[in-house]
């Protein structure tokens, strides 16, 4: 019998994990966004970032071509939702070389701009994400909704610039506290809107935090600035009936891990965590085996290695990931680079099929 008639659909397998049950195998969750635009033949990533219909098609193609849970991260319209709403100017990635949204002119450039800043109503800016979630839920794709408030990665890339916010951390911490509070308040309003509009069992809020990582920040600063806001935002979401959060601890968070800050953020039950390639699967399983984990292939290696090598790297990851108590998905340690050869993504799926059977 062909394999595709004998195994769970990847989304079905993902939902099995969410219920705390064991799916038939480890699933491939490649963190596929820009790569999906390339699968559709687009020269740039702009259409996938701007138009829900294109984004949905890209996610369905990813699911079906790779038998993968992409995951369907509803980034469409995020430029308006994250940047435009605050008065920042942005650009969708229509240039063939662009890899994501770009902040062109931030709303906040001076301390006086912070004084004038008011938290906008997110709802008029959420048309893109609403449509994407609605379509994905109807397609039974279990989408993720980006909700980034509280992180420096949000305030520092949407309201002001990263260099500015990092400078102010030492020179004008009062301004940073106000910016983070404003972005947290905004995110909570986003959550209120989303929880009223969509069944909370059908989608998952997702956040990520590259600027908050220990590549740029010490653990003490992390604990003082983003951490309390993120705890608040996650808890508010859970209080609104959201069962769990999916957090991508982007880049190097090893100092925050050592300080015990990751587990201070409420993730729900079981909560989904992914880390950058700087955090080996062994560490993840040992410390966070009670969460659903995913990872942790090195993104550049996915571009440069052969498909046999990728399959072997995947096998090693799966071997460790399967030791987690709440389930594991094979994934790239950050967004899957668009130029990764499709055969290498397929090698991940193939490794899941060959080595990813859970012990009964």
């Amino acid at each position: 019998m062909p394999w595709w008639l004998n195994e769970m659909d990847p989304v079905e397998a993902f939902e099995t994990l969410l219920r705390g049950e064991t799916p038939d195998r480890v699933i491939n969750c490649p963190m596929c966004i820009g790569h999906a635009a390339k699968l559709l033949g687009y020269k740039s990533l702009g259409e996938v970032y701007e138009f829900p219909k294109v984004w949905m098609k890209a996610m369905l193609v990813t699911r079906d071509m790779y038998r993968a849970y992409p995951p369907p991260l509803a980034l469409t319209g995020a430029g308006s939702m994250w940047m435009g709403a605050w008065g920042s100017k942005f650009m969708y990635p229509y240039h063939p070389k662009m890899g994501s949204l770009a902040l062109i002119d931030p709303a906040v450039k001076t301390p006086e701009d912070v004084d004038k800043l008011q938290v906008p109503d997110p709802v008029p800016h959420m048309g893109g994400i609403d449509e994407a979630l609605d379509t994905a839920i109807r397609q039974k794709m279990h989408p993720l909704a980006p909700v980034l408030g509280g992180w420096l990665s949000m305030a520092g890339y949407s309201i002001t610039e990263p260099e500015k916010i990092l400078f102010w951390i030492r020179k004008r911490p009062d301004l940073v506290h106000r910016l983070l509070d404003a972005s947290t308040e905004y995110a909570i309003r986003e959550l209120e809107h989303l929880t009223k509009k969509f069944d909370t069992e059908k989608w998952i809020p997702w956040d990520a935090n590259p600027t908050d990582s220990n590549t740029l920040l010490d653990a003490e600063t992390f604990a003082k600035f983003p951490l309390p806001r993120v705890i608040k935002m996650h808890q508010k979401g859970l209080d609104m009936g959201i069962p769990l959060w999916f957090t991508h601890w982007c880049s190097n968070h090893n100092l925050n891990i050592k300080a015990g800050y990751i587990e201070k953020v409420p993730q729900g039950n079981p909560g989904i965590l992914s880390f950058g390639p700087e955090v080996p699967m062994e560490v993840q399983v040992e410390k966070y085996g009670n969460y659903i984990l995913l990872g942790n292939l090195d993104p550049p290696q996915l571009m440069t290695r052969t498909n046999d090598e990728v399959k072997e790297m995947s096998r090693k990851n799966i071997e460790v990931g399967l030791r987690g108590k709440r389930g594991y998905m094979l994934a790239c340690g950050c967004e899957l680079p668009p130029p990764v050869p499709p055969a290498n993504v397929y090698a991940m799926t193939s490794a899941c099929r060959e080595y990813g059977e859970y012990q009964k």
Binding site: P93, M98, G99, L166, R170, T221, P300, T304, E335
Partner: protein, 219 residues
């Protein structure tokens, strides 16, 4: 105040990110008749060297580097018009920029600061730099090193294209190419044909100095 005391105070002010104090001390040094280049070397460069080593060891982080460099530039603004540059003392020229499509430039800016302090002549092309601009600048400025960065996996492929463009332009063998940025590795740098890779800003300065030494036959 002796000049040693002034240099020490300058260094302390940079390390604590006190721009008002570094500006005041720079003016004071000129009033004392001190050589501006000596003040820059003994006060500013030394302090940023300490900061750079701390950063390399994971003892200090990006916000500290940013406030220290702001304080340092306060002093440089005062001292620069009084510095007489001896071309023989400049170790080399570096053209630096963030690859096309990528607007993440914190890392590049920190590397640029350290190159400045290392005495290099630095031409900073900024972020989201078109390939043609890199090539044009390389032709015009004849740098010893072309340094380019990418912070996201989606733009890092542009670095390979940059290496190819230098070949097409006939300038590949006239300069060294070094690359950096969070998703990169030495393996990737080698694969795309770059000459060198640096995992962080302090290492970038060391790598650049090494490339120059090798170019000049110093090993």
């Amino acid at each position: 105040m002796s000049k040693e005391e002034l240099f020490k105070k300058m260094s302390d002010a940079i390390l604590s990110g006190d721009r008002d104090e570094t500006t005041r001390l720079a003016r004071e040094s000129l009033k004392m008749g001190l050589d501006a280049y000596e003040t820059l070397s003994a006060g500013c460069v030394k302090a940023m060297g300490i900061m750079s080593n701390r950063y390399d060891k994971g003892e200090t982080f990006a916000p500290d580097i940013l406030v220290a460099s702001d304080a340092m530039y306060g002093a440089i603004e005062v001292l620069k018009p009084h510095i007489k540059v001896d071309p023989a003392k400049i170790p080399g020229t570096i053209v630096i920029g963030v690859i096309e499509g990528d607007v993440h430039d914190i890392g590049k800016n920190i590397v640029k600061i350290l190159f400045d302090l290392g005495g290099f002549r630095v031409i900073d092309l900024g972020r989201n730099v078109p390939m043609a601009t890199f090539i044009e600048s390389a032709r015009e400025n004849k740098p010893d090193i072309l340094a380019a960065s990418a912070l996201i996996t989606t733009t890092m492929v542009g670095l390979e294209e940059l290496v190819e463009k230098t070949k097409e332009a006939g300038i590949r063998d006239k300069l060294k190419i070094m690359v950096g940025g969070a998703p990169l590795s030495a393996e990737y740098a080698e694969k795309i044909g770059a000459d060198a890779y640096a995992p962080n800003a302090p290492q970038a300065l060391k790598v650049a100095e090494g490339l120059i030494r090798a170019q000049k036959g110093g090993g």
